[in-house]
Subunit: 330 residues, 2 copies
């Protein structure tokens, strides 16, 4: 019987997670029955949303179970197949990450189309990350050419995709990031302005960068960033709420000094998950694939080496340890 | 030269306003030039939104000026006219309240249609109050028959109209109010449940009243009420943000423990002012007029007597001193 190593949730974190919440275990892989395939993972994704699944609460995805392997985006190669549609050597992306090998029915794996891009792109700009940026900006916030767009965590995986998509579409973009190096990278991506949230009061900095106000806010952070967006919104501004990393680890409830501007500026706010737009994925692949091929959307990854590095890579998401997409290469 | 008495803003309040912020002054009325009319007020409206105009900040209406008369909804009778469209004896509603008499160009006054309703209705269910309830519920929140609707300050002027409109339209309605008497009245209005926010934790009470969650929240209060609505929202819930009386007088910024549910439940939030829907006023008059005539929408007023009582009537809005619409009868 084949064995694999996988990271299990040892205990549910309270507040900020720590390395002791995770445990690397060796376990048996299920037998390869008819219709199933075995995949050896090459790349694992760690994402802030995973923190939510570590709590025992019902959300848009079921919680992780204590004592069971964690899950997450991964790209791997089929090494053994008893399914007609997948052959050994095929590259697939799937959600059975945090482990070296996975055995599951073929339907759990998606064969990557031949698009001439690196495998890791299927976890980044062509994966959950890129789709979240694309649909949140263009559908949820209904952003159009000419809009002034503010995106928080603009040096992060989703934020850096938002910056580039907005520029391709002819918007003015202001991105926030922590520290001068990340801000410089945000400007390299094409942002018209970068706001360093560590350098001083955010409201003042955002209003200086957007003296006429913002039409769109793409929220990855919540808290003070969302409040600064309230303060700076123009009439009929649209906010797409993608994430609130400021609040994922508990602490004081987020407070808002400028929330009443929702009324005076008639702000629209909407939460979304990229899966809300599954029916439009083919349009996303076509458009994003074109931008990547044309060099209009670039990716950058922070890569950690080896399965052992996975939980620390995840933890570092909450202290700004990544620029661009955080990945683990096996 | 004619004189009148009017309440002036003596000083801008900091936090909760007090009676010393207001001053009753006698002043000259401008001469009645061609095209102008003189109106003697019969009813004055006091409304929570006026608090915002007492701050020196740009909002959707310009701030009141220190040393100048306050303004607000009023109904009166024309006593002198140099305009062809208005005759002495005509009843008009207008925005030159907080005073006994007003002289202005005829365009500042709207002659009330003959609908067989009491004059005070033009400040209530057929006025700003009713229009705010109607458009916020049916347009901003896009509430439909079958929806579960939560409305805060349901014993207030706007809230009590929302309860009744929602029932006419076949919705399930939960209203919040402070204390058993107001809650009893909210149920009398037709609400399926009333939640006493003074009686205990709001989240628990709302979730008990709406075990399957809410589809729509009509917000007059902000703060804990809005947070309870976040906690209780069903997927794709729509929130119409009409007011946040909890925050009008400053204090700690509103904080939210459940705001991340905006993402998981894909909540849509939108601020509005009834004037956003001015082009649809004729539909509002037709529909609301019909409901009032049929006895489906009733009004209740808390009436204070005499111009002298105006600022205290206004102040009492912030301590729950009114049930239904707060008016001053001259």
């Amino acid at each position: 019987m084949n064995k694999t190593r996988a990271w299990h949730l040892k205990s549910r974190p309270t507040g900020m997670p720590h390395i002791g919440n995770f445990e690397l275990m060796e376990s048996d892989l299920p037998p390869l029955e008819d219709g199933m395939v075995r995949v050896r993972n090459a790349w694992l994704s760690v994402d802030p949303y995973m923190r939510g699944r570590m709590n025992d609460v019902k959300s848009y995805v079921p919680p992780f179970q204590v004592g069971a392997p964690l899950q997450g985006g991964a790209v791997g190669k089929v090494v053994e197949s008893r399914a007609p549609d997948l052959q050994p050597g095929d590259t697939v992306f799937h959600m059975l990450g945090w482990r070296e090998e996975a055995v599951a029915p073929a339907g759990a794996f998606n064969k990557v189309p031949a698009m001439g891009v690196g495998d890791e792109q299927w976890l980044g700009n062509l994966g959950l990350t890129g789709a979240t940026a694309y649909f949140g900006l263009l559908r949820t916030a209904d952003a159009k050419g000419g809009d002034v767009v503010f995106v928080s965590a603009a040096a992060g995986a989703v934020g850096s995709a938002v910056v580039q998509i907005a520029k391709v579409k002819g918007m003015t973009v202001i991105g926030s990031a922590g520290g001068p190096e990340k801000c410089a990278w945000v400007k390299e991506l094409g942002a018209d302005a970068a706001v360093d949230y560590k350098a001083g009061p955010l409201v003042k900095a955002l209003q200086a960068a957007a003296p006429k106000g913002i039409d769109v806010y793409f929220d990855n952070v919540g808290g003070d960033h969302l409040d600064a967006a309230f303060a700076t919104a123009r009439n009929n501004a649209r906010f797409a709420i993608c994430g609130m990393i400021d609040s994922y680890n508990g602490g004081e409830p987020a407070s808002f000094r400028y929330i009443m501007r929702v009324i005076s500026a008639r702000i629209s706010i909407k939460g979304f998950i990229y899966t809300d737009y599954m029916s439009e994925m083919s349009q996303f692949y076509a458009e994003m694939g074109g931008w990547i091929a044309a060099g209009q959307v670039k990716s950058r990854e922070t890569v950690r080496a080896g399965l052992e590095a996975t939980p620390q890579a995840f933890l570092d998401l909450f202290t700004g340890g990544n620029t661009g997409k955080m990945l683990v290469k096996l």
